[in-house]
Symmetry: C2
Subunit: 378 residues, 2 copies
Amino acid sequence: MKQLFWAAALCLAAPVLAQPTGDLGLIVERASGSLLVVDQSERAAIGRIEGLGDLSHASLVYSPDERFAYVFGRDGGLTKVDILERSVVNRVMQAGNSIGGAISDDGRLVAVSNYEPGGVRVFDAETLEMVADIPTGSKTIGLVDIPGSKFVFSLWDAGETWIADLSGESPQITRIEGMGANPYDALVTGDGRTYIAGLFGADHLTALDLWQDQPTPQPILPGYAAGREGLPVYKMPHLEGWALAGTDFVLPAVGQHEVLWVDSRTLEETGRTATHGQPVFAMARPDGRQVWVNFAHPDNDTIQVIDTVSKEVIHQFTPGPGVLHMEFTPRGREVWLSVRDSGKVMVYDTQSFEKLAEFDAESPSGIFFTARAHKTGL
Amino acid sequence: MKQLFWAAALCLAAPVLAQPTGDLGLIVERASGSLLVVDQSERAAIGRIEGLGDLSHASLVYSPDERFAYVFGRDGGLTKVDILERSVVNRVMQAGNSIGGAISDDGRLVAVSNYEPGGVRVFDAETLEMVADIPTGSKTIGLVDIPGSKFVFSLWDAGETWIADLSGESPQITRIEGMGANPYDALVTGDGRTYIAGLFGADHLTALDLWQDQPTPQPILPGYAAGREGLPVYKMPHLEGWALAGTDFVLPAVGQHEVLWVDSRTLEETGRTATHGQPVFAMARPDGRQVWVNFAHPDNDTIQVIDTVSKEVIHQFTPGPGVLHMEFTPRGREVWLSVRDSGKVMVYDTQSFEKLAEFDAESPSGIFFTARAHKTGL
């Protein structure tokens, strides 16, 4: 009876346990196949979700209500998790080897990009039932969502980019040839207009204006490393690190100790900034005034901060060994860093550069805040 | 005993009642002083919060966790509401007559702009205790937040813009003179860089580059209505309707049946589009590809949609009498309209222009989705 009384009392108190989701996030713990649930306002972990399989190079997207995440594992697993209940809702092995995914602008479709077999598979966001299978005969990379229930992706083997329109009964495909040899990653700008593919087999990148009726490939930064000895590439830069900083995009240069600045309208190079090591992510603070850069081994203990106006390094520090990823709070006041080999997540103020908090995590890598739910192409 | 059993059973079931907040919103019901709590995914109202006082021309901002809203009433009331519990948490009468507010980038400070007495007052977001009082000797308008715990606002009587830095013990004020006669509204771009004030006493607008160490006023669209007979202004356009559409800003022209396009870098006019009536809001869909326009009386039953590339009207329809406000879902797939004199909120697909849903509301006006929590200057 006493237990029942307390249960009832707890029940009456239930509303105060209500948990908003706007300031939550998930951090990939790659070694243990788990996700740490974090609260940005508390600057702390508040839970863990386990049983996600192989999470090396895992990424995820959020449902529009910021309650569910769809996790894309390297092992081909697609897992839907509930961050309020901290549980796995559903999990399907949709391919042998996959490399990222996206969610449609209406939140109804989740698409996954696959190496084995190549192609893209599209799933109902509610049930994870497959609703479309788009074989490409190629490893498929750089999958992003754009407005109108459309997805864009590129074919490593064929050097093509495809636009798949999922708004009707069956997918309508637009093929764009001549993107260049071996696209290895791609991004779309926040407005869903400009798609940029990095090429492994060519000394430039290729852009598409998706607002054109028939988008035509446009080379960017042709020969940007010509005449200079390339350094060994320890880690290919992530293009999702591209971001608009003021009027320019910032790009981590492949095999060089520098970042490149490209005018966002003309796509012409506007400058280069020498850096501490080979950049992996060059991420603009949401307001674009600063760019934060991390580096490949053996320089992956360091962060540099570049001012967008002067294009100069204004701050450098050493959070610890293995800084793998950064994520800004949505309005850019704080930045969270995964410091894998310290087993720590660290939180810094981007105005004062002061460390505000740190907490433990198991080999943390990707950090994903729920505000991504509201953005195109993330 | 049986009741207790059921209470306990309900308690065990409590987690399924968990409510994420990423797809919620509030709609101002001006006649009844209430807020309708809405769910974007359900396309429906899910609750109501009452007792807000005078909500004519009310606006609101959200806490970073998307749980609390701070409502700025015309009567000087500042009310904190909880959208999960659907209750008023706190309410202070902070002035006699106020005109909007903002929340700092760290979510800790809420600032309110006042007519009576003039000036800005700053409150602790947790407790609503006043932490700073900034008298200006003038009606104060166009209050926005920018990165670094700063607020920017303009003085109707003095033609000045002030930047208040609240990051330290006491506010540090930077005064910028020469903004022009009688600024009546202002906005800041999503990156917090460009502040633009509309002027009642001059035939142009004035811009500031807030990334400059000493921002200097720059006129925009000088004499844009010169040589043409001005129409009677039934309603001053809202500058928060300005938005980046492609490479341009779109501006509702004062006293004319047109919208103006301004290059976002040079601030030069790039075009004009004739419209059905005097525009009130010209709002870009989040991806910038479309601009939706509503109009002043007697044309306020109509919406026009303009394509950003062609700058031509591509769609026109008549939702009903008194279309007061529009809000896009965060990724732009849907738009919600307040149709005051029908007592309806209507939801449209922005790709097909199909009406997806409508539901009742008491004289609905401003619509505010929680995703605003993650944006600068909203």
